[in-house]
Symmetry: none
Subunit: 193 residues, 4 copies
DNA sequence: AATGAATGAGAGTTCATTCAT
DNA sequence: AATGAATGAACTCTCATTCAT
């Protein structure tokens, strides 16, 4: 006997697929409902409105990023190694889920302010783990203490995010995870020879 | 005799203001026309359709970034100095035009694929100047030659773009240009002490 | 319990009235929706677009002409009598529905090519019944066999259509059906004494 | 030195071509102006508005039909011969000007009421010549005197018009004028053997 | 007489959300 | 809990006409 996933996750998963395949603007509630195998109205038993679906998609999926990075942050390894795992983790999750990669890197950015604000809130939890690792690195004398920690965090995230977006936009052809070494080098030592 | 700005630039400038103040989705053609002081129909004498306005806004404004960076790229100064000016130039233009900053960092990203593709094409010209500077730096033995140049470019642009976006999202309160030194440090030498 | 006509026919009927009273160009979808007592959007649950409403109106209404003429064509009566009933049938349907008469004789002709082509296709089925009767008449030696059947059909339809249009344009004042005898005479024997 | 046609006829002729090639709805004033080689505004020095162009087109072109039919009506020939020439004249003019045929048989019918009323007025003069010939035929005892003259006129015009329209709609492939004999037969003697 | 840049009113269609069943 | 038919607000673009030059 087939045990159905609870409808909530069923709808979340449907949304990721529909958005990845049709783009944010081509993803009507009716389409998501059909993909999930439920009626249009049923969606509204589990989500307040369409934005709520998207926020929930992002929250659920970011949960994976956060969970794994939290584990990394607490491993008994060096800051350099933690930063290496941070990059690798981000790339790995995206590379393993092409639909998710499209949704987070491209589609979810085409949203208006209220939604974008909610997305930022969720991202904040992920980025606070960056801060945790960076703070530790500074305290241990491994990282520069002359630069504002928010700026360090933005610099790292900016590099990872931009490289991920480029990878998605060029059709996800090359191997994203294999960039880890080089990006790790750049984060720690910069471009100078 | 009243000498008016040519209507084309008049509409472009109106569009930047309207989009910055109302968001991309709140910027109806009628609103842009009103801000520009022309009739709705007049817009269509100068632009093919609404998307064409947005593309033209981006093209005209990126033109400033490109023009100034081109001049920097050809100055008789060191690669390190060129990279410094590159960062400073980007931050300066955004800081001097708050409306433009909102439009490029937030609003113009919420666009659907055909428009985004056009925007990418325009961005490419700007980024090819990054490549020019980077290539020169590698040839002169100043920059690492072990890392793919596209990756270097993405890393730099990612840092600048992410820090700019954060600045816009936090209300453009601090001084963006004053981040130049630190970001320049990070680009060249990374986070490691 | 309120038994409503199915919405499809409700909208068709509303369209005939609205077009007859406001003319083809004065018949906005919103006006038809209001007359039908449904929301604008409901129209699009039953029709692909505005043209589809008009095509459906013509198809449904021509259905009556066709159905009755088909019955006449198969009656065990002479060709002369069939032609008499053919004329009378056409006139009777128009005279009994003033709105329909205006729509078919005047308004539906002001349409652009794609729509007109669809209308021609529907008309073809009606005219093929003319052919059936004419062919039978020729085979039975009642009608001239020296003239192309398509030309005979066009001549008959041309007379009926032109007299109907004149009747509509002059305000439907005289009795259209009462022309049947004379027109029948002309069809069979011409103007010559 | 090239003596230019007066602009009035230049615009009329341009209108016929533009309407025939683009259809009534595709014939913007700007397009007609361009074809005529004048500025948009110039049109309004010669015509009150767009409808006035169309009415003038019809009036000018019907003038040819009328002029030739008037000459026929007054020839010293029999009523049967006059009716023969009437049909032949109509077909000949249409066959010799493909653009005109499209405009009168198809495009000019897609117009709203006020314009159509004006067109009817112009047509009336043409049809009064039908009446003249028919009256003469009745008085001479050649034609039936039992049928209303308006009905006779509508029957004849209906046949000619419907056959002309069919010819245009099927791409003007066969020879229209060669239908004259058969149509003349039908008008005089009907379908009966 | 001729120009052509500027005007601005007007309507088809989509889709998130509701609610009677 | 689940359905899905019905709702109705919202916006781009065209084109006949004007009028300053």
């Amino acid at each position: 006997m087939k045990r159905e996933k609870p409808k909530y996750m069923q709808i979340i998963d449907a949304a990721v697929i529909v958005i990845a395949e049709n783009g944010y603007h081509g993803s009507q509630v009716a389409k998501i409902a059909k993909q999930a195998g439920v009626a249009d109205g049923t969606i509204y038993l589990y989500f307040k409105n369409k934005d709520d679906i998207l926020i929930s998609v992002f929250k659920e999926k970011m949960g994976v990023f956060i969970e794994r990075l939290r584990e990394i942050a607490h491993r008994p390894i060096s800051t350099e190694e933690k930063l290496y795992e941070l990059v690798k983790n981000h790339y790995t999750i995206l590379q393993n889920d092409h639909h998710l990669a499209i949704v987070t890197q491209l589609e979810l950015r085409q949203t208006r302010k209220p939604l974008r604000t909610k997305i930022s809130d969720i991202l904040r939890e992920y980025l606070s783990l960056y801060d945790y690792i960076l703070k530790e690195g500074i305290e241990n004398g491994v990282l520069k203490d002359s630069i504002d920690i928010r700026l360090l965090r933005q610099a790292i995230f900016g590099m990872i995010d931009e490289t991920s977006t480029s990878w998605v936009m060029t059709g996800q052809k090359h191997n994203l995870v294999s960039l880890t070494d080089e990006v790790h080098q750049l984060i720690l030592h910069g471009l100078k020879k």
